[in-house]
Subunit: 385 residues, 2 copies
């Protein structure tokens, strides 16, 4: 059910010819009210696609009526023509929905530099078609229409006492944090004030999507949007809502990790006993971004030396010669030297668990990543063709 | 001739059984004087191998008699036993050469965590054998003995008015800057004061090895050492010497790039019109470390969008929507949009030239890197086995 699981939302996904495969490529999600609360977080990349530039302005008043999303073209670095395409898409949707264009967010994903007149015509036609097909059962169709190299549609639903959160996500590469790291739309029928929606979204994404770092490459098009309409007439405690939202975001983040391009291992890097949470994240991310470590995991090689070499490049507070490293439950390194024989570590399962104990403080954090594989190289060397 | 090209140096390389292949794995370079000036730069990684910890202390007085190098084991994270191995190696060399152990530098390269009693016994025996075989023609043997996954020995010689600089380098992976990025020994018979040697070495490495970033992974064992003995009795102007040293370091850096593990392209990233040289390096390095860009180049795909996405993550001063990008002479992006068709770009040659014009200032810098290939993944997923 995805984004249409909560009451008062409609969605659709249609094929508009943007993808050469003919698969669905334009999605629309509409909030039917009564409230039209919206919040969004965006890529931290300074190179922002036109839809990001548009949506950052449109969400500023925290009123969002609808989100139009397309795959098959990022509309990034397409100049003023590309920005006009985004603007016209919002105006088209607004006209058909009877709302203000300034309350329509736009998200695009696909190849950078793609956005010619054909692209524009197809996005506009697709938007019209999707709006004509809007339905309270359209969540799954929408989730399929935003897929690029994703192999499965990614959705999640959480229900609590009288209110529900639904979400859909796309993302299989260029996954690295910077406020947001992919296209995600989350809907809820909980009653939320605009500032509450914003706070809950930032709290949730900061601990979930921001800690997914599949390949260290930050996208130009990332956007995570939360729409809240209060249709349930239940106003949850903000902490309760934020906790449920974080749970949903984490579920989607794990699904993104599990579908990362070419990956053969989903690696959970758990950093313990750091002086600060920031230190723990920095240490975890340094390992997540180390190609030699990632290639070793692909080869089922518990090469803990590469973990130590990676964390030694950080500014985090710890003694590099008093760190414990576990791989899938086996302590392979302790006190600056080898511990258990590497032969004891079984890295054949897809789920890989690395624990790094810094023995320096009481903070902890977990970063999710993937291994570096032949298939990752293959998929990303042939993307444009 | 490598390190024995300048007058007054002897070297040797022998097989001590550290490599399972039986190839040479221990090298010694000795300065026969009259001066015994030494300078060295080391990895910026906080996780330092035992030879680094030893050599940093040994070079502090700027007197160096000899360097002992081994491949086949990094002696990193091998605890106090590993440090004793380094210490004993220096003492063994010092005893045989009739010098102080505190004037002998040690360099090791190979797998982290390797350094047991067998390793120690073989390093000590190899050191003894190499010293017995020292000769003024031994430079090439030494250059071969420090190879790991290198496919060719890397040496360079530059001669000026009466004085010569010779060098050898090893490095084929884990190449990322941090003062130094590999094992390099450079010798000269020029007359240099200790502080001059130090300054010239830092100036040269800062513009050469520090701007080689093959895979973003900083080693635990990197060391670049300069030995100067004044045997030519010529004292060059410091700027002249520094320029020649930089030329030699650049030649070795290019050879390292050309032999990087699994690479199929040598990529020169030239950043122009930056506000500062620091900005230019940051921008160049962001591209050099972007796996999606590197995979695209492997696929001969001029995916300039990935260049823009990479540089957008930096803090350098420039307008992301007013940047020109050239690939192998074709301007593919200008003023925030596409320029010439990507079909015009021929990326089939190994040498790849990317120019990024930030249009913001007068500074420039060039960063060297490689593409991300199947073979890189293969070599680095099977390294420990």
């Amino acid at each position: 059910m995805s984004v249409t699981a909560p009451a008062g939302f409609e969605a659709a996904g249609v094929a508009a010819g943007l993808k050469s495969t003919g698969k669905p490529d334009v999605a629309v999600v509409v909030n039917r009210g009564p409230r039209k609360v919206g919040a969004a977080v965006f890529t931290g990349n300074r190179a922002k696609a036109n839809p990001i530039i548009w949506s950052q302005q449109a969400v500023a008043d925290r009123v969002v009526e609808a989100v139009v999303l397309n795959s098959g073209g990022a509309n990034c670095f397409t100049g003023s023509f590309g920005f006009q395409t985004t603007h016209q898409t919002a105006e088209k949707a607004a006209e058909l929905l009877g709302v203000s264009a300034g309350d329509v967010l736009i998200c695009s994903t696909g190849l950078i530099g793609t956005g010619d007149e054909t692209f524009r015509a197809r996005v506009l036609a697709g938007t019209e078609q999707a709006i004509a097909e809007l339905s309270a059962d359209g969540g799954d169709d929408a989730a399929h229409a935003i897929m690029t190299t994703d192999t499965v549609a990614k959705t999640a639903v959480i229900s609590r006492d009288g209110w529900t959160i639904g979400g859909m996500a796309k993302g299989a590469g260029m996954l690295a944090p910077g406020l947001a790291t992919m296209l995600v739309v989350i809907t809820t029928d909980a009653v939320l004030e605009p500032l509450q929606a914003d706070e809950a979204l930032r709290r949730a994404t900061g601990k979930t999507f921001d800690r997914l770092d599949s390949d260290g490459c930050m996208s130009t098009n990332d956007q995570v949007t939360l729409l809240a309409n209060g249709a349930s007439e239940v106003a949850p405690d903000l902490d309760d809502f934020a906790a449920a939202l974080r749970e949903l975001c984490q579920e989607l983040a794990v699904k993104l990790q599990g579908d990362a391009e070419g990956a053969s291992h989903d690696i959970t890097i758990e950093v313990r006993q750091a002086v600060s949470e920031q230190d723990a994240v920095e240490v975890g991310r340094s390992v997540a971004r180390n190609n030699l470590f990632k290639a070793a995991i692909f080869g089922n090689d518990p090469n803990w030396g590469r973990v130590l070499a990676a964390i030694g490049t950080t500014n985090a507070q710890f003694d590099p010669y008093d760190v414990d490293v576990w791989m899938n439950g086996v302590r392979v390194c302790t006190e600056g030297g080898p511990d258990r024989p590497r032969e004891e570590v079984d890295l054949t399962p897809r789920a890989t668990h690395v624990v790094i104990d810094l023995k320096s403080g009481e903070a902890a954090a977990t970063v999710l990543t993937n291994d570096l594989t032949h298939d990752y190289v293959h998929e990303n060397s042939a993307y444009a063709s």
